[in-house]
Symmetry: C2
Subunit: 193 residues, 2 copies
């Protein structure tokens, strides 16, 4: 390490394949439609070798318009914070130009994530301004791969619910879990071992 080098700048960008997987022009009507996209992103991330088996997407709740996606980019961008949900929050907030998705003048936004969030992402969900958190596979599915969720407890969810965030579990769970299994079959890197 050389202390005279310039300060680092972190650039958070999508991988090249994003437009081949994500249709930005359509609307996504149902929870299943929206989750299917989050899972497709998780699968593309594994198949392209760009990261862990986790994908997320943020939609306008009423219109079903897609605002941002996120894919696990921890290894690709050498950054422990870049889980799929975190990238989705960052990209959505950059796009709307606000540090919260819950602000006057903006429609309600919901997060869809292919797997139950870790402690970091659950905390960020509270700060993000989304009104619903919808997940596919559960922490027990992720644990089978030795991915760890960190200090998340039942009270953690109660805390969010008391602040008005709705939690919806196990949407297309089998499809989401299949991507975790694909990753394991490929001997993917477990970066939070």
């Amino acid at each position: 390490m050389n202390n005279s080098e310039p300060h680092p700048v972190v650039h958070v960008e999508y991988p090249d394949w994003v437009d081949s997987i994500v249709d930005w022009t359509r609307t996504y009507a149902s929870d299943e439609d929206r989750m299917r996209l989050a899972i497709a992103v998780s699968r593309a991330n594994v198949e392209s070798g760009t990261g862990g088996p986790f994908g997320a997407a943020i939609f306008e709740a009423q219109s079903g318009r897609l605002v941002a996606v996120g894919m696990n980019s921890v290894v690709r961008l050498s950054n422990c914070t870049l889980h799929g949900e975190m990238m989705a929050f960052m990209m959505a907030q950059q796009r709307v130009g606000s540090f919260t998705l819950n602000t006057p003048g903006l429609p309600a936004h919901d997060l869809y994530t292919s797997c139950e969030p870790c402690a970091m992402c659950l905390g960020a969900t509270l700060w993000s301004g989304v009104q619903r958190l919808v997940y596919g596979a559960g922490r027990e599915d992720a644990s089978l791969l030795d991915f760890e969720e960190g200090p998340v407890f039942p009270e953690s969810y109660h805390y969010l619910e008391e602040r008005g965030i709705k939690i919806v579990r196990n949407v297309l769970r089998d499809e989401a879990r299949a991507v975790l299994e694909l990753y394991r079959a490929n001997s993917g890197r477990i970066y939070n071992g």
Copy 2:
């Protein structure tokens, strides 16, 4: 929102004042020396109007060499994830070129933060690879300003400790708290109200 616009790219950078506050060339021997820097960063962030009253720094544990600082940049960069600790993790990992600071060939790294971490940052602390988490002011100090820590419980700390992370509390707490009070006196924006 126009779905034909280019994809967002998030750039995470230090504010301009960083080199006027941070001496990158010296080493920082004691916990107090290191915390004093984190607090100086928090104070400069308030005095410069670049963000909330929270600063952090990551050091090589043995040498006392400074690796990165972080300052709350939520409003400045329109990004709910950019708490001081998160920025410090991102910058440190960018600098060492690894998604974890705990990897063969790297010395041990410790995090110093001017205030007790929120749920997101505590989760990220686990993923970051730091071996000690040292904080100044406590959550009760932050709560006086209506800053919220989110779903953090005593078990959350036990979880980190069981995984080998040492927690050190209340280092230069009064100095850290004084910056929170300065922010309140300035009617600073409480962005997680």
